[in-house]
């Protein structure tokens, strides 16, 4: 770097913070919805999924950014795919080794990170034209933007759908109708349509706070 930009300059920090809110991959760009609906029935898989995507996206961004001047333009998509696939296999093996139960729950959706639009999108839009460090921050930021939506949705769905958080029962057992109480879990929260509605609520809140995001 000739001009010696500080590592956490204002511009670089913006790469981290923008995707959390005003250019959020899920709520603003509406990418990666499929996995957001599929894995968020509980909090734990949502967190693991977010971390997996973060690892894949950050490192794929760095690798593509390092190779950006040597990748022939006409075959760049296939090169990107090979790199993403290699990283996803690594992540998958790590999950299988250390959190086998969650890995089984996520099943095919870890493999499907390869086709997650957010990753391809960031590689195309950012990593191919920027240096490794900003690319790394961009990857972290976008994965975090994706991740916090997943965590919020996963939290809400697990709390209202199963009455627990991170696998621990929150709603006292004596509240349930079966045990003479009044409460029942909302079975619809477990179903994917409710995840879509939860994401919709987040989008609603976000756009009513930030009116610039409302499309004409």
């Amino acid at each position: 770097m000739s001009d010696r930009e500080p590592l956490f300059s204002k511009k670089n920090l913006k790469l981290l913070s923008d995707p959390l809110n005003s250019s959020n991959p899920i709520t603003v760009q509406v990418l990666g919805i499929c996995s957001a609906l599929a894995v968020t029935a509980q909090l734990k898989p949502s967190v693991v999924m977010s971390l997996s995507v973060m690892a894949v996206l950050a490192f794929a961004n760095v690798i593509i950014s390092l190779l950006r001047n040597t990748i022939p333009n006409r075959i760049r998509i296939i090169v990107q795919l090979v790199i993403i696939a290699a990283l996803v296999i690594l992540v998958d093996q790590v999950l299988k080794a250390f959190v086998y139960d969650v890995s089984k729950q996520l099943s095919v959706f870890v493999g499907l990170i390869i086709t997650n639009c957010i990753i391809m999108g960031r590689l195309e839009a950012f990593a191919l034209g920027n240096k490794p460090w900003p690319a790394f921050l961009d990857g972290l930021g976008n994965a975090a933007g994706y991740g916090w939506i997943l965590v919020v949705v996963g939290f809400a769905r697990e709390l209202f759908g199963s009455g627990s958080v991170w696998g621990y029962k929150i709603i006292p057992a004596s509240w349930y109708i079966e045990n003479g109480g009044f409460y029942a879990n909302n079975g619809m929260m477990i179903l994917p349509p409710m995840a879509l509605i939860t994401v919709g609520i987040i989008i609603w809140v976000q756009r009513s706070r930030n009116r610039k995001l409302i499309e004409e």
């Binding site: 009044f182 029942a184 909302n186 079975g187 619809m188 509605i197």
Partner: protein, 385 residues
Amino acid sequence: MKALRNFFEKTKPHVQKGAKYHWLHSTHDAFFTLAFVQKHTSKSGTHVHDYIDLKRTMGIVVLALVPALLMGMYNIGYQHFGALGQLETAAFFDLFLFGLWKVLPVIIVSYGVGLGIEFIFAQFRGHEVNEGFLVSGMLIPLIMPINTPLWMIGIATAFAVIFGKEVFGGTGMNIWNPALVARAFVFFAYPAQMSGDSVWISASGVEKMADGFTGATPMAEAVLGNTDLNVWNAFIGLIPGSIGETSTLAILIGAAILIITGIGNWKIMLSTVLGGLFMGILLNIFAVNAYMAMPFWEHLIIGGFAFGAVFMATDPVTAAQTDRGKWIYGFLIGVLAILIRVVNPAYPEGMMLAILLMNTFAPLIDHYVVQGNIKRRLKRVQQSA
């Protein structure tokens, strides 16, 4: 009456633009138009005004629902005392008052939650309070089982008003009938409270059902192959079921009110019934089990078929708008309702799903009817030219 009008006149300056309570202006407006007819006249455009505005229309629909409501209350008492085996000793008013006591909280919760949300949205968005909920608030209690906990009805109502109506822009913009959205929500979210044989009649304190009484609806019995139906009881509504759906007789009175006043569309009602009969006959012809062999016309008097055909399918917002579209729309509702009912054992009642499905398709039906009309007229012009 005079005092009421004076009150509205006196409070009006306080809610005018710039005044202290301006944020309450839509609430003021809502209650004023509910009590009196607006005096304002047109400055441009259409000058013919009808006194039958949306509030009065909705009022007539609520009126048409009253027979079904009263009959439902009576039936709740009838089922309760019947299950206790005390039908001989209980007086008519015992039955009715028991039902009233059970149904009233449901109605209060439904109206309270729904209108509360409507008023809040109206204040925030600065528009008038929409009248659409007057009918939905009455429909929601009538299509719920009597034993549904009140908080579930509250949540379902909130869900229906916010996600069934307000996110689309309020009354007149919704894709699905809000009351059915509420029912579908409870149906999928709390299936244990919406099916089985313990939710349809209020049988708390009943140790053992008296002879001849069961908590299962005739449809649930029919799924099991037990299709001998007491036709007279099913017609006047002395069978287990959701609060307002059991009495075909009361629903027919409601239908007559809607048709005579021109508020409900008879084409949709008739075509729905025709569709149901058509599918029933078809199933009779190819019957392989007892339910399919059940006389086709009995489908009309059990479950929510009649109620749905008269009060749900005819909702002017979510139904098809074109005349030909209405025939297609109604006919398909009837066909699908019976098909789901008989062929899919997971959903004993198909009426809710059939209407919601056809609500979704209504704009598509309209589109092709309009396009077909344009094409036909174009051809006529070309031939004559």
